[in-house]
Symmetry: D3
Subunit: 241 residues, 6 copies
């Protein structure tokens, strides 16, 4: 059995990071996982929300959204409908949590960074692309804040890097980084978020069709850890430029 | 190290199911996991949402909510605020997905069952108690619908049972079915939903503090599978009465 | 003519108060008027809303709501619809007003008590059960606050007790404490809130069918005053335990 | 004790009805109770809401609102805040209920009349002025519909007339038709809606300060019935023109 | 070609200003452009929004709305729908901007004036009537504030007056101050806001049917400037009384 | 006086159109006016809204929005706030109106095209860039629909092209196509929408500081018409590729 874009089962799609995609933002990255295209933008602002005032710690949060025609057919805007869908909020929370897992908020000081992840085009794996790109935008914003003197030069707000990838079981076969067409056919769908050192930050597996057993779960975890390792290498390399 | 209620690390809290807690509902169960108390109510109605009309398949969905003073301090009502929080929607979606994983909607016929899970008192593990209780209410509603002739007597809408439990790592030690006080102290928090035959329906693990490694993940999964097995036995026994 | 549960026309349904129904709340009562079951929970917090700061007076308010399947058929959640219905707000305001009529806010000091009345099962008279139960929860919260030293031991925040009951005219006959089935058949429906000394706090009568004359109104008021007197006696007795 | 506008205790303020205040509406009346000015507009449309289709009966409903500067100080618009206040909904429901009590919906046929009551200036008694004016606008809209052939000439959609007035106790003295200044000082506030033949449609009494006894309640009811009788006479006379 | 009310093409409808239409407001004017009737009410309050605190400058803003039956058929209330329509917000912004163009906020001092423009009856040109009437209400509120000592007697918060009128092209002929029937038939619709000295504050022209050329635009501007000049004269004369 | 990017007063910024920027949409264009970057996406769907059913005519509409960090500082999302701002709705309506002015909906047949204009980066003139880009996306979607047979090959749904540009007066000097920095300094701000043949579709001029006179208005109109002519040539050339 082969994949429709010729990849092997443990192969990522073509991954691209375009840093500095916007002119004003403190950090901005257009991340591409194949045809999935997410604009990740980090906005730095001195100060923290009221409930963190005088705590000496900073705050990192995230919002995820999709443009109405990111998908194959147009969806109504949540701003027009007047409320956020459950899926949107769930992913926004996941992205924020994933980033906070590798941020040392004491080292950040009383500063806030909001990372907006807007899906310009969706072809499966938008939440994992968002997390992976958001890390790069976050790193750029922190570098900017150090350069501008908002954060001390020797502080280390980033304890590690973070990347994420989806895995799934199609016709009994575990596969890495599903595109939309594969995602639709998958029996089990799992999103795994790893720190740069290969440990787990989030594991979210869902049986779409029949329940899955421990052996398949183990294979999916192996595949995902490998994919995250590759992504961490690419993040590191693109940030080194 | 010992737990403050004297349980062993792989021991569930005291679990109680009170069936038929309401007079009008087709299925209703007050489920208790220690001090956590969730009212799970299944409402049966003939017919399906528009997008399923004439498909021959039924629909099962769920809504989760908390009373304002279920918790230690009072929270504002979402109905008064005019919008659903992200957490509420996320759990509602999880409960619905977990139930649908063991429902054969063809066998259900064009009927709808909505399961409302209202947390009357919260002491950790409300979402896993909700799933575990919702299954019992669902089974009762299906039995009612068969008796009333809405579903054919020989149809089998339930492919299996479903139960859920939380596990976590406290001071490096994996523990089953965390109460609120334990949950607050846990480094890693995982919710596992299993089918009655011990396979996985959902696995959701989150590093609250530091990322966790594969060995700990494996221990958490073992613990959770054991807990779900115990819960499945209790569900089966309470439904046999 | 006889009532379907064998009561006489001036007889209340079976009334039960279960105090301390929740573990965390300062006051909590499950009140039952026959099959109508309302959870009344009083949350105490030091301090007052901004517009009462430094006034030396406290604040008591209430919120009323119904679980989706409290009734014979399921209703949509107001939190999901994103707005409170007129009926919900009207009853919330009534309960709050009724309680404030017997509270001496000077004696309460700058403290706030919110009473949540959540209808778990509805069989007519939910607003009157809510008021009657809310008083008991309020008394418990005040006792707690005295014991904890938030209110001075010799202060008297409760000037009197308060109870409420519904009355109605069915086939020309005035009857006390209507259940749902009777309520539907009633031509006139009246809710009466009385202080413990038998005076009126609220009188709300509505002609559902034809307008009613003064003679019937007088009979309804007599019946309601008698019912409230019985309820006041029960409240006093349950609080004495 | 005398009233600040020289009225006796059982005297209405100056009442004015200006019929046909708008050019397009089927019925429109500017009603004035002293300085209280409410524009009551009845909009007729053939057809009924879905839940009444093919029932052969019509529908009458009402919406009440206040302009932002109807009162002494400006209030925020409910349209800008994005939600209806509890008071607004409560009064809208009261006005609609009061009108439906005297409408024979079978005689109305499958037609809908919406009565909008917009308070242009408020000086106490806006809800009772709204009901009293709404009846006149309703009568005009029905006359229009008969003339236009939407309702049969010999049908009688109006079983009676309806009017409403407020009464209250100030310093122990019952008084009729309170203006704003009196309303603020009143211990007890009651709104009474009567049919043209002097029977009760709604009785809503509230103890603002201390509870009130039966003797005072009786005096208030006498006063209100007298006031409604006067209003009914004026309605009849203005409609005769 | 003649207009259905006999006006010449460059003639305004009958314009009326009734000052002091409300008893409580600091400035209130019922303005009529033929059958179009708008209640313009200016509410003065000392102090400014937070973002202007200690700036020494005041704030003028406006809200525009329509009663549900101002138009030929009834519209749903925006307060009931729970959101403001685009048209309502657009006109509110236009009225506020137009007034601020002639207000010297330094001279106003740290005071706020809100002008509510509520359309009681609509027959075309409601936004231009609103602006024209709002100026008169604003002038009255400022006079009141001077008399009460909120604004210094020698300060000049009004740099000029402001008026507005609509113009349009019907069957190729430019016409002034369109009524609803004419507005519907117009190919191009333009609203022009002028200062008292005849300069432009806003020019908003829209091709409803085919695009329009420069020659027609010039004719429309001439017509509008003439109309605004007439309105400015009337404003001045009514304020002189 | 010179412009900070060296342009002459009647010179456009660098204009770029990237057609086919998305893979799934029927028409998609990334349009750039200097640093202003708007993604214009046309979604074609057979059928029309209910109120146009069986009219034989099609429907074109538009929605405009900004990403939160399109601007120099981050703005809150309208989807999170739960309501659309007035500015957003105003521009959405303007874009839709401008496109409909050159569409022959009879020729379009009963089909709907929605054009989403999402500002990825804002540097002044976002609404005019949106209109100019939206036309190209619309033309592409119509070409697609013809190729797919949804619209007949010989039908002409586009009566002309449409483009828009901003003009303003800075220190008394009229200038074309303002960037953000210039826009902030401008006394008068005007947006002009022209058809391909140089006639006007919309003219919206606003005095930001002092009112402007006819001579300046005339100069602004000249400048804008010239700019639109240039844009029309570029649209035509990019569509010819």
């Amino acid at each position: 059995m082969s994949r429709n874009d010729g990849r092997t089962n443990d192969q990522l799609r073509e991954i691209k990071f375009t840093r500095g995609w916007l002119d004003h933002a403190e950090g901005s990255v257009l991340v591409e996982f194949g045809k999935t295209r997410v604009l990740c933008v980090a906005s730095f602002s001195p100060g923290v929300p009221r409930w963190l005032k005088d705590s000496g710690t900073g705050w990192v949060t995230s919002e995820y959204a999709m443009l109405p025609r990111a998908t194959h057919t147009r969806s109504d805007r949540e701003s027009v409908k007047g409320k956020l869908g459950g899926r949107t909020q769930e992913i926004s929370r996941l992205v924020g949590r994933s980033l906070r897992a590798i941020v040392d908020t004491k080292e950040l000081g009383e500063n806030t960074i909001v990372i907006d992840c807007d899906v310009l085009q969706a072809d499966g794996g938008t939440r994992t692309a968002a997390i992976t790109g958001a890390y790069v935008a976050l790193a750029d914003a922190i570098a900017w804040a150090k350069k501008e003197g908002h954060i001390k030069a020797n502080s280390k707000p980033l304890a590690d890097s973070v990347a994420a990838v989806s895995v799934g079981i199609i016709d009994g076969v575990p596969m890495l980084d599903l595109c939309y067409e594969e995602d639709v056919r998958a029996d089990t769908d799992m999103n795994v978020v790893c720190s740069g050192d290969g440990r787990f930050i989030e594991v979210q597996g869902t049986a779409e069709g029949v329940p899955f057993d421990r052996a398949l779960l183990d294979q999916l975890l192996d595949l995902a850890v490998g994919g995250c390792k590759d992504l961490a290498r690419m993040q590191s390399s693109v940030l080194a430029k």
